[in-house]
């Protein structure tokens, strides 16, 4: 299934169409195949869009704000384009299902700090982050300095995760796998 109508996307994801329209109108997901252009026109979505919807919907189920979903999807776009520079056929979401590929997760600590986690088959997890996603003046999130976004030393990771009051974890690789199952 290379492109989907709004009706098809809503059916695959098991949600009402208006929820997907809302995510488009809030610029969380931008239709890659065709955007709506006025009354009577329709949107068409790619498989990547379907994955983006699934991630955003999962985040909403955890009561996470749309601004955070937008942030996560922004990072994923940069992630995908950088991986593709080295692996030409890498494409989201399908390539996340590689049997021996690392799992990709997002973790939000205390509802305000965003981390990306890579879990390899043998190696310990690599943690990247974190972006302070508490809404600040102007509705934007802020991040720590660029230098601190890299892989956290294990001792820092351990401390930050151990002292968190709450921890929300979303497994992006599993969302990709579940989408594959829904397609069949």
């Amino acid at each position: 299934m290379s492109s989907l109508t709004l009706t098809q996307a809503a059916r695959v994801l098991g949600v009402p169409q208006h929820r997907l329209i809302h995510l488009c109108e809030q610029n969380v997901v931008m239709p890659e195949v065709r955007d709506a252009r006025g009354r009577g026109s329709s949107r068409t979505f790619s498989r990547r869009n379907l994955f983006e919807f699934a991630v955003a919907l999962e985040m909403r189920r955890s009561a996470l704000p749309l601004s955070l979903a937008r942030t996560v999807l922004g990072v994923l776009r940069s992630f995908e384009s950088e991986v593709r520079r080295q692996i030409a056929d890498f494409v989201l979401p399908d390539s996340l299902m590689a049997a021996r590929g690392p799992r990709v997760l997002i973790v939000i600590l205390n509802g305000t700090r965003l981390y990306f986690v890579l879990q390899g088959a043998a190696a310990a997890s690599a943690v990247f982050g974190g972006i302070d996603v508490s809404v600040v003046k102007g509705g934007r999130s802020v991040a720590r300095s660029k230098a601190k976004l890299g892989a956290l030393p294990p001792i820092d990771t351990k401390r930050e995760f151990a002292t968190a009051r709450t921890r929300t974890e979303i497994n992006l690789s599993q969302i990709a796998r579940d989408l594959k199952n829904l397609d069949q």
Partner: protein, 57 residues
Amino acid sequence: MPQAANAQPTVHGVEADAGFAALLDHLGRLLAKEYVRLLREAESSPTPTILPLDPKR
């Protein structure tokens, strides 16, 4: 389509300040480099073999 020199960078289609957009981009690239490293490491390591259980043992 070429962008005007003073165009604001965008985060997923939403105007955002240059610093934040650059941070997200930077984070995505860092993540990608580590992802590729872990993937290559997994691909180069031998596939674990699962031996059938021997009922005689």
